[in-house]
């Protein structure tokens, strides 16, 4: 365990409640549309303090994004108070081309500030690592920050005897998405890993502002194709809130079932891939098949293994008949029986445990400072789960216990997955048996004007955050998507420090992050 106290903590010293005047914020629930006029517009110093203090109060920055205005760029901060069930919103207009960076006091926003710089050309002065995020996502004409060709930038380098550099990607050996990884190694030991992404950038956020929004759902379903249900649910929750449209209990239940099936498929596949990365082939082979069986359960609901066409504004696109429910239950039970059998092999094989334990360890403190979310955060002992902290939709009626492990290593990330598999299975089983009756889709109202709404969903990787702003005509004028991977990639880089470079595939798989979800 890494016991050293990084200097990042120095900002926590003046931590006395009430030491300074409370800063105005607008509190909101998950999926609550708020009038723009109700969001306090702070001067940049107060805005900074609001963000910096959040991390000292054990709150997180769920999103920090810009929206173009006539006089400059307006920054919006969305601070999440886990355990309080509240989101805190504030804004500040940046008129010039720069503002003082917050990274020193609040490291978890490092990537948000880089993103703001790339998109809007506003420089966070004092940011120590101001590199491109996606190589090309400028949103302001005259943005002085013209982006470089992809991958062309100054990489962090270590010099010294026997120090060498390993560059991997964007095209990798497996059937996976592209990204570039630079390792600074001393022998086998990784001193530093730098992850440079952007290869998957497709321009979704800007395209979401098209009118009419004919492609909104296809975009949402392919933000990260393995998280079709998660992102589509976040979007639908948002448009329903902005239109004050109602959704039936049956539709909410079907969405929750689909979300948990997505988690089951990906977690089972993930455990199989972890087994593969340590050369334990029985579980790798069994789980490869079983992942498909869960995907096929989603296909039984809607015809698509990834749930395309299932989540729709106002409800779901497909209903399920009573006889289909009993078939689903039967298939769910036989699949789960085989999953249990395949996964338990992992915990009983000493050779697997020897490779899982103590590999790629993150401390709880690191996880908190980096603002990690989802499985990765829970594997460090942080109880962060949107289904529990910010319940929306069906999770207001039915709870799933939060799955936590303490050791922060590959084992913990694998074990949290296994706990979640069991709990999601129990949840899906119960909900299929007692589906509420009623219609599955209702008509949606047009969006209300001049609102901001934040929608959170606990996808299988972690917190999915969508934030939308409507203009005076009720059209989308800003759409922000924060995939859990956006928070977590830095966690992988930190986990690799002082590890064997040969453990990279194992560590990488234990995080299982999305490239396109980051690159959008």
């Amino acid at each position: 365990m890494n016991q050293e106290q990084p200097d990042l903590l120095r900002a926590s010293e003046p931590r006395q409640p009430g030491a300074s005047a409370a800063l105005p914020v607008r509190a909101a629930r998950n999926g609550q549309a708020v009038l723009l006029a109700d969001i306090p517009s702070l001067d940049i110093e107060d805005f900074r303090q609001g963000v910096i203090r959040a991390s000292l109060q054990h709150r997180r920055v769920a999103a920090l994004f810009g929206a173009g205005e006539a006089e400059g760029v307006r920054l919006y901060s969305v601070v999440a108070g886990d355990g309080e069930g509240q989101l805190y919103l504030a804004s500040s207009l940046v008129k010039g081309d720069a503002y003082p960076s917050m990274v020193d006091e609040c490291p978890q926003i490092h990537l948000f500030e880089r993103e703001l710089f790339e998109q809007w050309g506003i420089r966070p002065e004092g940011h120590p690592w101001l590199k491109p995020v996606r190589f090309g996502d400028s949103r302001r004409t005259g943005n002085a920050n013209a982006s470089n060709s992809i991958g062309v930038m100054d990489f962090y380098q270590v010099d010294g005897e026997e120090v060498h550099e390993v560059a991997v990607g964007p095209v990798h050996a497996g059937v996976i998405e592209p990204g570039h990884f630079r390792f600074q190694c001393h022998g086998e030991e990784v001193l530093h890993l730098e992850i440079s992404l952007g290869y998957q950038h497709r321009g979704i956020e800007q395209a979401m502002l098209a009118n009419p929004p004919k492609r909104a759902l296809p975009y949402m379903e392919t933000v990260a194709g393995d998280t079709t249900i998660g992102h589509a649910s976040a979007y639908c929750q948002l448009t329903e809130a902005l239109g004050q449209s109602s959704v039936s209990a049956r539709a909410y239940a079907l969405r929750a079932i689909a979300l948990e099936l997505e988690r089951l498929a990906n977690h089972v596949g993930g455990l199989g891939a972890l087994a593969n990365d340590v050369g334990y082939l029985p579980t790798a082979s069994f789980c490869g098949r079983l992942r498909g069986d869960f995907l096929n359960l989603t296909a039984a609901l809607c015809g698509s293994r990834f749930g395309r066409g299932l989540i729709r504004p106002g409800g779901v696109g497909f209903d399920v008949r009573a006889d289909e429910c009993s078939k689903l239950l039967e298939r769910l039970d036989t699949t789960q029986r085989d999953v249990k059998n395949a996964v338990n092999l992992l915990w009983e094989a000493n050779s697997v445990q020897a490779r899982f334990e103590g590999t790629g360890t993150l401390t709880q403190q690191q996880a908190e400072q980096l603002g990690l979310v989802g499985v990765v955060a829970r594997a460090c002992g942080l109880e962060r789960d949107i289904r529990h902290d910010f319940p929306a939709g069906f999770f207001r009626l039915a709870q799933i216990p939060v799955s936590v492990a303490q050791s922060g290593d590959v084992f913990a990330r694998a074990y949290v997955r296994w706990l979640e598999i069991q709990r999601s299975y129990a949840f899906v089983r119960e909900q299929i048996q007692m589906l509420p009756v009623g219609t599955v889709r209702r008509a949606c109202n047009p969006l209300l004007p001049n609102r901001l709404c934040v929608s959170l969903v606990e996808g299988w990787r972690g917190e999915i955050c969508h934030a939308a702003i409507t203009d005076a005509e009720g059209r989308l004028s800003s759409y922000k998507i924060v995939d859990p991977s956006f928070h977590n990639w830095m966690g992988l880089a930190m986990a690799l420090r002082n590890q064997q470079i040969s453990d990279f595939p194992l560590c990488n798989k234990s995080f299982d992050l999305s490239y396109c979800g980051h690159d959008l």
């Binding site: 090309g136 998957q200 296809p218 194709g225 098949r289 498909g292 039984a300 293994r305 395309r308 092999l345």
Partner: protein
């Protein structure tokens, strides 16, 4: 060790008897479109208006759907008041020519094998390098799944390899983002000739939901010559497998071989 063996017994033999038996597809499976323009009422443009990717076109009275652009999202079938546009359960969608993806009536599978020379070279052993060029990880996942024991791609002599230098061709997913175009070109250049290119999914064929974005190149064939198009968003694994086997002209042979073996 003994537990692993006992597990092997419980998990059983799971490789599906395809192609000897037709694949078991889900009830709501959305396959090839079928169009019947005689049902169209005059002046009705409802399907065209809702299509997110402009896959449907109406020239005079001829209604046509470009499967290469289609996301199989059911917007058109739900919007059509007369049932002129429907999605069938046909999963054999792959075609060698881009034009063969355009459907203007009932759909017939349009499989066609490689030319004799390349088929002789690759027919019994095809090594492919997969490149994701902006793919959302759905097509990638359903290509990956072909390697699992359910589909067991290896039994057909097809294998995904780690290096383009070891490959006979590329299997590309994604709309080809600007940021991946150079890497895709370099990977293609690294494959020894003769080589083939397979475009899997709506994105790789025409750009998918991202058609027209300045950040993408609207599909693989604007960068590389394509030998096989596999439509779908994402295509079902059996659609991909059918396309690969059709390309190598192995379907009939494998089917009869499997029947004899059973």
């Amino acid at each position: 060790m003994i537990k692993a063996i006992l597990s092997r017994v419980q998990q059983g033999h799971r490789t599906y008897a395809y192609p000897a038996q037709p694949p078991n597809l889900p009830d709501h499976f959305r396959g090839a479109p079928s169009l019947d323009a005689t049902r169209c009422t005059e002046g009705c443009r409802q399907c065209l208006e809702v299509c997110p990717t402009d896959a449907l076109r109406l020239d005079g009275t001829r209604l046509a759907l470009d499967m290469g652009r289609c996301l199989f999202c059911t917007e058109c079938t739900s919007a059509c008041p007369t049932g002129a546009v429907t999605l069938t359960r046909e999963y054999r969608l792959a075609a060698r020519r881009r034009d063969d993806l355009i459907v203007d009536g009932a759909f017939e599978p349009r499989r066609k094998a490689l030319e004799e020379r390349t088929r002789k070279l690759f027919g019994r052993s095809l090594k492919l390098r997969q490149v994701s060029a902006g793919g959302c990880n759905a097509c990638e996942s359903d290509v990956n799944v072909l390697g699992t024991l359910v589909f067991d791609l290896g039994r057909f002599g097809i294998q995904m390899v780690a290096s383009p230098r070891h490959a006979d061709g590329l299997l590309v997913t994604g709309p080809v983002t600007e940021n991946m175009s150079l890497a895709l070109q370099k990977t293609y250049d690294a494959v020894p000739s003769p080589k083939i290119v397979i475009a899997v999914g709506a994105c790789a064929i025409a750009g998918g939901p991202y058609i027209g974005h300045s950040q993408v190149r609207n599909g693989v064939d604007n960068t590389l010559p394509v030998d096989l198009y596999v439509p779908g968003c994402p295509p079902h694994p059996y659609t991909i497998l059918d396309g690969l086997l059709g390309l190598l002209d192995r379907l009939e042979e494998r089917a009869s071989f499997a029947r004899n073996a059973v």
